[in-house]
């Protein structure tokens, strides 16, 4: 008996010692190189720049970027500075996808003429939700239809944040912005529902479409690597929390990403060659109120509006689960 007790105490002390001697082990599958340098002028606690950082880490140095106007362009390249350590071009709102198509065709021609070494170069087009769902929509649609081998990443912060929080077609129902303020005329603020951009991209029949969130960085990087492998266009829709525009505390950007996924507001799924697959399925969805709580843009919502949103979100979630399960069975 006594020996047993001493054994336990010995193991306990050993455990305590090992706990004390925790050493930093190099990270696996997470590159240390930074492709967007420190010194960028993103707001404090911006999860969008975090998403960009993870995307570039997953792709690696052999990349050419075309970026539409938006937060990420404004904060990273105030002339004469640039935060990027990869080839990067700034273009107008509407033609990120078109310019990326041109880059892809140009690189193909240069490779054919043996002007540049024949190695794999990823072309990454990136836009905010305004540059993707509103203004750059037709260029994006054209890119996907022509089948260029490009990764298009939409970093979605659900409004035109950099010009002062104007609504976009990606703004969810019930959010108040400066151009859709909640008041007597429009008690909900934004009166239309968020455009389902992933379904639209998937309907083009492109090989890979997915949603991601920087809170789940492993999932995000896995999806980017998958998009890099496929032969053809791929579209990744990333929800990035904007503390300034969503009016949440600076330190909570990661938590709100988690809540958006767990409440079913922004489910994580992918569409690979027409097969829908859910990547994260919480056992039970949290009520959307938990996600709304603390967000200044949802402050005006009353119980009826919240219930309406909850119904819609649950219906959408159920439909998504059904679709994914039907594809699983096939």
């Amino acid at each position: 008996m006594a020996s047993a007790v001493s054994d336990v105490s010995i193991t306990e002390t050993k455990m305590a010692e090992t706990e004390k001697k925790k050493v930093i082990k190099p990270l696996k599958n997470f590159p240390m190189e930074e492709y967007i340098n420190s010194g960028h002028r993103a707001c404090q606690g911006c999860a969008e720049v975090l998403a960009v950082r993870h995307v570039l880490k997953a792709i690696g140095p052999d990349v050419v970027m075309a970026m539409a106007t938006g937060c990420m362009e404004i904060i990273s390249s105030p002339y004469p500075y640039t935060s990027w350590t990869v080839p990067w071009i700034h273009i107008a709102f509407e033609n990120a996808a078109a310019v990326a198509s041109g880059i892809e065709a140009g690189l193909k021609a240069l490779k054919r003429k043996k002007r540049i070494p024949d190695k794999e170069i990823t072309i990454l087009a990136m836009g905010g939700d305004g540059g993707t769902t509103d203004i750059g929509f037709q260029a994006l649609s054209g890119m996907m239809e022509r089948g260029h081998k490009i990764i298009y990443v939409c970093v979605d912060n659900e409004a035109y944040m950099n010009t002062g929080i104007q609504r976009s077609s990606s703004t969810p129902f019930g959010a108040t912005t400066t151009t859709s303020p909640a008041g007597r005329v429009a008690p909900a603020g934004q009166m239309t529902w968020k455009k389902d951009m992933v379904a639209i991209a998937a309907a083009h029949g492109i090989p890979y479409t997915a949603t991601a969130c920087p809170t789940f960085y492993n999932d995000l990087q896995k999806k980017i690597l998958k998009a890099k492998e496929v032969d053809g266009p791929s579209y990744i829709h990333i929800l990035s929390v904007c503390p300034t525009g969503w009016r949440v505390p600076l330190h909570k950007a990661i938590e709100y990403g988690q809540l958006a996924v767990d409440t079913g507001v922004f489910p994580l799924y992918e569409v690979e060659n027409g097969v829908w697959k859910l990547n994260r399925k919480p056992k039970e969805l949290k009520p959307v109120v938990e996600y709304f709580k603390g967000q200044g843009r949802y402050r005006h919502l009353d119980d009826t509006l919240t219930a309406e949103i909850q119904d819609k979100i649950t219906a959408r979630w159920n439909r998504l689960v059904k679709m994914c399960e039907a594809d699983k069975e096939d």
């Binding site: 004390k20 925790k22 050493v23 930093i24 082990k25 990270l27 997470f30 930074e34 967007i36 340098n37 420190s38 010194g39 960028h40 002028r41 993103a42 404090q44 606690g45 911006c46 999860a47 720049v49 975090l50 950082r53 990273s76 390249s77 002339y79 004469p80 500075y81 640039t82 935060s83 990027w84 350590t85 990869v86 960085y217 503390p243 600076l250 330190h251 909570k252 950007a253 990661i254 938590e255």
Partner: protein
């Protein structure tokens, strides 16, 4: 490093406004924006890397020799994500 905008002559501008030095935004120190500062306790730290992964400003880096994480206060904007996300509460925000 690159000169500030008001000291550049028009003759020095590259055609097309091309910036030839990659990543030169690092000479702009965003640390001046900070009102709160993270305080790190290496003994409580469980070395899980979460602060490094979640830092939007790439201001945290590992120091393998001393077995600690170090903050680059030239760039840390004091958002507090590292302190809030730390599973061991090894980081506390305090007034700068």
């Amino acid at each position: 490093m690159t000169k500030p905008m008001d000291q550049i002559l028009w003759q020095e501008i590259e055609p097309g406004g091309v910036i030839t030095e990659p990543g030169n935004a690092s000479c702009y120190h965003t640390g001046a924006w900070r009102s709160q500062k993270p305080k790190y306790d290496p003994d409580t730290c469980i070395k899980c890397w979460r602060c490094y992964i979640m830092c939007p400003d790439c201001a945290i880096s590992p120091d393998y020799e001393n077995n600690v994480f170090v903050w680059n206060f030239n760039y840390c904007k004091g958002c507090g994500i590292c302190a809030y996300e730390c599973p061991a509460n090894a980081i506390v925000m305090e007034e700068d």
